[in-house]
Amino acid sequence: MRSSKRFKTAAAVLAAASMSLTACSAGSSAGSTNKADAKTSLTVALTGEPSNLDFTKTAGAAIPQALMANVYEGLVKIDQQGKIQPSLAESWTLSDDRKSYTFKLRKDVKFSNGEAFTAEDVKFSLERVKSSWVSSLKKKMDVVDAVNVVSDTEVAVVLSRPSNAWLFDLGTPVGAMFDPSGVADLANTAIGTGPFTIESWKRGEAIKMAARDSYWGTAPKVKTVTLRYFADATATTNALRSGDVDVVYNMQAPELLPTFEQDKAFQILEGTSNGKVELTMNNKAAPFNDVRVRKAVMYALDRKAVLDTAWSGYGTLLGAPVPPTDPYYEDHNDAYPYDPAKAKQLLKDAGAENLQITFTVPTRPYANAVSQIVVSQLAEVGINAKIETAEFPAVWLDKVFTKHDYQMSVVLAVESRDLLTVFNNPDYYIGYDNSKIKDIAAAADAADQAGYVAGMKQVVRTITEDAPANVLFLFPNLVVAKADVTGLPANSVTEALDLTATGWK
């Protein structure tokens, strides 16, 4: 029995070793899921965790979703209807040549590190976009010529040309106000003027935000907000049902909604977003370099059926890449009605019958859902699309976006007012020939508000006529919450998830 004793000793040593390895701090930086008192705290379930807190250097909607409006604020903010509202600037005036904005700032604003917010910070933040941001968003500030401090509470911004888009952009992440002493480690520390501060971030799980006492505006309705990140939609609704979260924001599985519709303990909000599900075609490569083939794709698809099948009918049919919350929105749903006969005729005219194409589908739930029905509808008019999946974002960005090595793809374009980014650039992966819209777009941006809207409407009409992409539908912003949660923002107009007015009945 000598060796059996040794076996026991060895087993005990092994057990002890494993216990000491897995000491009590396990996962402490990842933190806990404990919930505080329900009525002073709110837990929101989201999908897609930010990779860090620095949207000046990292792309993706997850970072501004958490931080804009809650931690960082701009001179203006965009309300739920897409209108520009005062925020850190009480008011502003525009010079007669429409090139100089003078902002009057609030006096009582302090950053969360205690520093006062002044005109110097505006100058610092706006100039920093050009000097230090490493992000594609920074070109939105290219139009700024100079930022002049007039007094502590007054700042003048001189633009190189009149721009209507710029004031709106100030309400998006590029307009966020930073304190010069608070930008050392933006990836891990966020210091802003907003009503919340980041109390803790449990990577892989949750961001906890605490309400500030020294906030200048209306205090938030709750003391703490926890943003919890889930890998899949089913887990979010399970967490809602089991009481682990109070709100599921931007729910990604509409097929799960009917069970909540029946239940009085929950409410469902169906808002709009900026997410346009675009079936993109490579305008520079065969067969889609022929406008007739692209138009055939427009007529071949019954977008209502696509929406019903792929996203349970939640969402809005658009017909053009402009959501209703944009000022230059027009209903373009009648531009290309479902007409398979016409599609076949167009393909015949183009000599493109029995077309074989490759359809590059990113690995995302919406893309997967959309691709099946799109393929079957295209087949009916004689376009045989072979689905090829591309890991998103890595492979899709490399192959489709950078190398333009694709014929057809589908993507959710989430950026607000990105019409010109996508279509006014022939080198963009869609490869739309912008010669017809370039000058109209430039004139519209420099015109007054009415001229801007009229010009942009013309741009949208021209793009629609050329059919560079088929905008299948506008992604809904689906929110499921406990019935007694109030003040939820239903619409997602900018990237921000503004929780300052959210609370309990």
């Binding site: 092994l14 396990a26 996962g27 990836a187 887990a235 399970n238």
Partner: protein, 315 residues
């Protein structure tokens, strides 16, 4: 004994460094540019250049490799491309979560497998033995994530007894730590338990037909006594082998269960890092996994010699 240990150690080191080369090259071979992912759509070529310079991915591959690999022995893995934090503390944290989850699940799985597997072998001609066999077959067929989802639907959503997901560090609130651990451990242990039950059963069956067991019976021991005193120890060798393989596989394989239960473990970290092409983090996590696997093998190798003196004498 000492020679055996030395041979094992040198094998450990060689395998480890071969693995560093393999994982480094693999991460470079797959498509996807970390700078492009960090910047997303609409990034200009100048910005991409600038970001590659900041990440250090514009340097020649041998330089990047040496830079990374020389940090490894000191536990310095570098700074993540994505989170812009030191990788070492992040991994240390996640490894503990995974080890708690996986070790606990394996212990529970063995507590299920050893008695049931033995019983199934002893009664392999009786209905109860066949029933256990059938149940374990069913358990093997159920993927861990499905077991997890079913458990959540029943115990968290339906009955409301336990939280549906999440993680609490044991030092913060031990009760909550245990409550949140019950379902994921049950999900992992039920599947692993079923797998191990089958191995225990076949190992015990094999031992039961050995001559020495018949001899033990002839000396006057009862069937169960003979099996427990002389048989189980011999049956334990193949079971130990399978357990160690499963244990190593589960440390990253638990990722599906981690996703279902939103547990911040090593597998989730690896999956996110691959998605972001966060090269340094992927490489470092894989090396930690390689090290853990090699350590498990070393320990198991030592345990063999404890369990079976013949192995010791051979070496």
């Amino acid at each position: 004994m000492v020679v055996r240990l030395l041979v094992n150690l040198s094998r450990f080191i060689v395998t480890f460094f071969a693995a560093t080369v393999a994982v480094f090259l693999l991460m470079r071979a797959i498509p996807g540019d970390p700078a492009q992912i960090a910047l997303g759509v609409n990034a200009s070529p100048e910005l991409l250049e600038e970001t590659r310079r900041q990440l250090g991915t514009d340097r020649p591959l041998p330089v990047q490799y040496v830079d990374w690999v020389t940090g490894l022995p000191q536990g310095n893995f570098g700074v993540s491309f994505v989170t812009r934090q030191d990788i070492s503390p992040m991994i240390a944290d996640r490894v503990q979560v995974s080890l708690i989850l996986v070790m606990l699940s394996m212990v529970v799985a063995l507590l299920i497998a050893i008695p049931f597997g033995t019983l199934a072998a002893v009664r392999h001609r009786q209905p109860s033995g066949v029933l256990i066999s059938a149940m374990s077959q069913l358990g093997v067929a159920i993927p861990g994530f499905l077991a997890g989802i079913l458990l959540v639907v029943v115990f968290a959503v339906g009955l409301g007894w336990l939280p549906s997901n999440g993680w609490t560090p044991p030092g913060e609130d031990f009760g909550d730590f245990l409550r949140r651990l019950v379902l994921p451990v049950a999900a992992l242990a039920s599947v692993q338990g079923a797998i191990l039950t089958r191995y225990v059963r076949s190992a015990v069956l094999e031992v039961m037909s050995e001559d020495y067991l018949r001899t033990a019976r002839a000396k006057g021991l009862g069937p169960l006594e003979a099996l427990v005193r002389h048989g189980l120890r011999n049956a334990s060798i193949p079971v130990l082998t399978v357990t160690s393989v499963q244990l190593a596989a589960l440390i990253v394989g638990a990722v599906v269960v981690e996703r279902v239960f939103v547990i911040p473990g090593l597998g989730s970290m690896l999956l996110d890092a691959v998605g972001n092409r966060d090269m340094l983090t992927v490489q470092s996590v894989v090396m930690v996994l390689v090290a853990i696997t090699l350590i498990i093998n070393l320990v198991v190798d030592l345990l063999y010699t404890v369990l079976d003196p013949r192995i010791r004498k051979k070496a």
